[in-house]
Amino acid sequence: MKVLGITTQQEFYVGSKERNFRINEFLVVQDVQGDLIGEVVEAQTFNRYIPLNVYGDFIDASVIESMKALGYDVDEETIYVAKLRLLEEALYPVETGSDVRIPRFSEIKNLMLRTKIEDGLCLGVIRNTDTLYEECEEEYKDLLYTFEEQGLVKQKELPYIMDLKSMHHYPHIGVFGGSGSGKSFGLRVFLEELMQKGIPTIVLDPHYEMDFSDTPEYLKEEKKDFKGSFKCLQVGVHVGVKFEDLSAGDLKNLLDASSPLSDAMNNVVDVLFKNRDSYLSFSNRLQALTEAQEEGSIQRIQQKIDNAKNNDEKEAWEFRKDLFTQYDKTCPYNSVKGILWRLRRLYNEGIFSKDSRDIENYLKDGLLVVIQGSTRILQVYSTYLLNNIYHKRREFKDAQYKKAEAEYFPPFIVVTDEAHNFAPKGYESPSKSILKEISQEGRKYGVFLALATQRPTLLDETITAQLNTKLIFRTVRASDIDTIKEETDITSEEAKRLPYLRTGDVFISSAVVGRTIFARIRAAYTISPHTQNPFDELKMKKDEDDEKLMRIVLDKLPIAEMDILDTIREIEKDEKVSFTIEEFTQKLENLYKKKLIGREETIFGYRYIKL
């Protein structure tokens, strides 16, 4: 391998007659300035005897075959050319003609493996490093499996280890990639690693997919059990908000997340909400006020009091009268109605039926807590939850600085898929303000974000700018590629490859390393509950139904056409299942078509028989 053509201090071409180049591999240039390390950013092959020439001679396959028969293989004239970019700029342009060689592991260890296994998350392998694998230390070998074309294979390349401790300086992670690019899969591997390290983590899971109970078929032997390491909690079922703990601010956030509040509505909450209110007391107050406002005036309410049939009713109306005189001027009827409506909606969704104490305890135990719910519910709930726990952590740290006593709250990582729903660009949303706050100052308090989205363009820019490490999977949309180019140090060559990446291949652009690494996510130890193909599911369901029916029908066979009604009655008696004649005939016909039962003609019409 030699340096070719015109060179610069940063980039130049390298050619070889024997060895094909691979993108992202490292090569050492033996220049007069000393050995220089570079990375292949473009690879090409070229055969000057098989030109792509429309007007000139076009070589047909038969001639090439004939030449091969003569012993001369034109393919062997192929030249391999690579564009090499130096990792550090040289002082002078590299000398043309310099020899180029494959580096030894020791020479580039620092570029590849800065982190010890125990200090990092082992997410996958660095692509095109198989030549170095043999030389590397034992501790980096046999750590993982990857999926390749031929199926599951043992590790053959250097592992990619994400430095966990450096999150202290470079706190936030972005995961970008279109659907099917391996993004959710990458997130799963990331979470598995966090669980193994016992890092307290909150996962917002709108897809109900971050369950780590199932082991995939391919790794049955190397099963890893995460059972004690994570908890799946559904909003409204397992967790919620304890209404009595809410401040007016929390409540406004919640209501706002449900659907945006007007100024007047904010005012209603400020005025009407009392500390330590329960859901019941607050909603009753709102309800009573609206009823009073519906009467319209003090006189009409007084009339209601005067005409009360009993004492209870009288007291109730007096209560309304008090509210009316106190609040009618400051709280317009429509706003009170609006708050009441939003409050009831949240209540009906069950948010107020549970509290979030469990989550805090799990975090303190170093567990991964998966919060599940629809996107809208999660928007509402995460706003409350993140505000709550972030400020707990913050209070603890602030108290620590001030050397005051405070309850311990651990640092934690917030992970979410579809992050653009939680922190959208262009409009305000309550969950966005807390995420923004964490993105800007979470580092100080040890609260980190890992945000995944298939539409980085739709993610709030302030937050995107704070993501120091980015995992970029296959992305096809041009606008998203542009955003990625803007927000990362990915080169234009790499950006060109983005639409063609294989599922699970990823560019990792990290502020720690200062350059982009091309990696492949390892095979996950667990599997998403949604992996069953819906078409398989349909078939299975059908088979199941058939089986059930067969069990019932088998005893009754043979069934003659004229006995069908009797058979139905019998079945109804025995099995408590009823059919109409038409239905039952249809079902028998189906079984016959599927060759599960037979049918024969008799003099009295046909009858169904056992096979």
Partner: protein
């Protein structure tokens, strides 16, 4: 991006240049063009007149060829088995040479020669030989101007022929090939490198190596001469390539009758082949002793020639490409290894310094 800008700048400059010329020469340039046009029209008429008898539709050229020149044969490509047999017997060595000239007019120039013999057998390494010549150092130099031109060409041809035969011999001695293909007609070697040529022919006959040449650029006039013999109206030089253009079908060969070969007294048997879909033909000649193998070698040429090409076997094109030294490389070599003083004084022509 940058390239686009560069192209744009180039186009822009070209336009400027054009505008500049038109302004400078004004109408006179258009006058010249008018004159040229008339001359070209005149030329067309003259040519038409010259070829009228031959290009006449009533004149059956194929019939004439079969009656007077040689037989027209339809050839088939070699089969895979035949090719394998050739491989087993040592494959094929193709020989080509190149010349580069750097400098001005006589005697201030340097000529570099390179010859290459390349075998289809990958185990046989390519044989390269180079030679260098400048008339500055020629010994027996008398100075009548008219001899010089011819002498110069002779010297060039001699050296090229010699070097080509030398590489052929060297390659053949490393490992005996089945056949050696020379670039161009064999007569050239006989004229310019008589002794070496005899050595090569002797070696080939002794060792059963087939020796033949393929001629991309046919300069013979065998057919024209015969036409002139038969038809006294036809005058002037008529080249075979003109006559054979489009006359043969793809894979057809015109095998020259022995009497005609004898008449030339070259000691070769020859023929013409249309080896591709292009209407041009290529020539082939083989030493007399192996004349019975001419047809098989013609088939070999057809086999190795891409259907949609100019008619030259791919392997010869490959050798041709590899033997060529680029002008840039030669310049770089001369600049690096000749003293600057010598180089500037002797070998930089006025033309080299022009940059308009």
């Amino acid at each position: 991006m940058n390239n686009d800008i560069l192209t744009e700048i180039k186009v822009f400059h070209f336009n400027l240049h054009l505008a500049d010329n038109i302004l400078k020469w004004g109408l006179s340039m258009l006058d010249i063009n008018e004159e040229l046009k008339t001359k070209i029209i005149g030329l067309n008429e003259v040519i038409t007149r010259k070829y009228s008898s031959i290009l006449d539709k009533n004149f059956d050229l194929r019939k004439f060829l079969e009656e007077n020149i040689g037989s027209i044969l339809k050839l088939e490509k070699l089969t895979l088995n035949e090719l394998n047999e050739i491989k087993r017997k040592g494959g094929i060595v193709a020989v080509d040479g190149s010349t580069n000239r750097k400098g001005g007019s006589f005697p201030h120039y340097i000529e570099l020669f390179q010859g290459l013999a390349k075998s289809t057998d990958r185990e046989v390494k390519d044989v390269f030989l180079t030679d260098i010549y400048t008339p500055l150092l020629s010994q027996e130099k008398n100075n009548p101007l008219e001899i010089i031109a011819e002498e110069e060409i002779d010297e060039k041809n001699r050296r090229l022929a010699q070097i080509e035969i030398k590489v052929a011999l060297e390659s053949a001695k490393r490992k005996k090939p089945f056949a050696i293909i020379m670039d161009g007609g064999l007569i050239r070697y006989k004229i310019y490198a008589k002794d070496l040529w005899k050595e090569l022919v002797d070696y080939c006959i002794l060792n059963n190596v087939i020796l033949f040449g393929t001629i991309k650029d046919i300069k013979t006039q065998i057919i024209g001469e015969e036409i002139k013999n038969k038809n006294k109206d036809v005058k002037g030089l008529i080249y075979d390539r003109e006559m054979l253009f489009g006359t043969l079908q793809y894979k057809e060969m015109l095998l020259i009758y022995d009497e005609l070969n004898k008449k030339e007294q070259s000691g070769f048997s020859s023929g013409f082949i249309r080896s591709s879909l292009s209407p041009n033909v290529v020539g082939i000649d083989i030493i007399e002793e192996q004349s019975d193998l001419l047809i098989d070698m013609a088939r070999l040429i057809i086999t190795l020639t891409p259907e949609n090409s100019r008619g030259v076997p791919l392997f010869l094109d490959i050798v041709d490409k590899e033997v060529k030294i680029s002008d840039d490389l030669i310049e770089a070599l001369l600049e690096k290894y000749l003293d600057r003083g010598i180089y500037e004084r002797l070998f930089i022509s006025e033309r080299d310094k022009r940059n308009l």
